[in-house]
Symmetry: C2
């Protein structure tokens, strides 16, 4: 089994290499990840500038290919050019921060997984909820991620399937509440910006929004993660609103 | 009616101002658009750096606010900070290039519309298919876009609804084949990269993929646009794969 491992935090990120170590006994693992941090890159791709690649060896002695581009670029380039054969699985993460609720759409971690699914490779995005006062434990998160991944594979993951896994913030010694299969919460979060004046008198704005796992319907990723569960959310990439399509298809349109 | 007009090609783009002129008799139009070209930006947002704004007056004497950020940033900032009240409608475009098939997911034009829908504002993304040998006619496209928009509004567009409109490439004097309500095609397109060596010996890759409207199922956006129709595709932003969710929810999971 050939596994492509990528992320959106960049090839030096602790979460990437923690996941790497936990995948080694599952198959051959090729790391192709962004050279720089690409958080909130969404599903951007690079079309007007070239993608420069380089071999990077991190402190632990692990080597991967860094791509000076976005997470989705890494997947496209790896599958099209860099890997000896199409991978059997793409894993994206472990992301430093949860990707639940509408953050799923901003997430470069999830975009990399969706790109893989476009191209017919099953993919799992893995994200760790970071919480003030709880130091991130990537080794522990990777162990949880691997147990979750094994179950996903046991349930069967077909070509073009995408799954987003989120792991709870656990204090040292704390166990997860369990694991839940839940839907994506689609509630918006409130935008806050702080306005300042630059030395030339132009207004500029800092995004000061704080994403919190607020109270929500119990069957969502947001609520389950808040309650200490690891979450599993199957995703798709057909953005067609089928109900609306059906309604509008049967009515009169003309130019 | 207050309309927020944005795009992903930047505030100087011809398509933006062609659309602007066609919206003026529909309501008050506020332009908040990226300072620079943001094609294929996907649904990226800016969280680590500030958003610098400036007033820009284009040659025709129209004025808007330029945001040194991504399309989704423009919508967030406009709704949260720049507009006197929440807009009744967001229009994104006219994009220079079709946004059909899986390009919907890479598109900054569509991302801006989806961001608006997140925030409870109905939104329409408008894109013009560019075809070699046919000079882009933004004025003509804007007229078509307006007729399409009027029909969408007549059918009723609720809060949080997103619609993607694509307009055909028409030679001078050519009429569109008609208008069709169609689903998003989810077929992948083949990635091509050209490998080169930089002066330091590192590999770099140019994306040489050419997106063509190939043969496809007749009920898709790709096929209808290829056949000269204007297309209307209702979109949603709930990425949960409901069928898989239901299947997995009823089976055994444990950590």
């Amino acid at each position: 089994m050939l596994i492509l491992l990528t992320n959106d935090d960049g090839i030096q990120a602790a979460g990437l290499w923690a996941m790497y170590r936990r995948l080694l006994d599952l198959g051959e693992v090729a790391v192709v990840a962004p050279l720089t941090m690409q958080s909130a890159a969404g599903h951007g791709i690079t079309v007007m500038t070239p993608l420069v690649t380089s071999q990077v060896t991190v402190a632990e002695g692990f080597t991967g290919t860094a791509v000076d581009g976005r997470p989705a670029d890494c997947v496209k380039l790896a599958i099209s050019q860099l890997l000896p054969r199409p991978p059997d699985l793409v894993v994206s993460g472990i992301n430093a921060g949860a990707n639940v609720g509408i953050n799923v759409i901003y997430s470069g971690t999830v975009a990399a997984a969706i790109e893989a699914a476009f191209l017919g490779v099953p993919a799992v995005a893995v994200s760790l909820y970071l919480r003030n006062g709880i130091p991130p434990d990537y080794a522990g998160a990777a162990a949880l991620a691997r147990r979750t991944l094994d179950q996903i594979l046991a349930h069967g993951l077909s070509r073009s399937q995408v799954v987003s896994v989120n792991l709870p913030a656990l204090a040292p010694g704390q166990a997860p509440a369990g694991i839940r299969v839940v839907r994506q919460c689609t509630r918006p979060w409130v935008d806050n910006y702080e306005r300042r004046k630059d030395p030339r008198g132009r207004d500029y704005y800092w995004n000061t929004s704080v994403f919190t796992l607020a109270t929500d319907d119990d069957d969502t990723d947001v609520a389950a993660l808040r309650d200490g569960y690891a979450t599993v959310t199957p995703l798709h990439f057909d953005l067609t609103d089928r109900a609306q399509l059906e309604k509008w298809s049967s009515s009169q349109w003309k130019l």
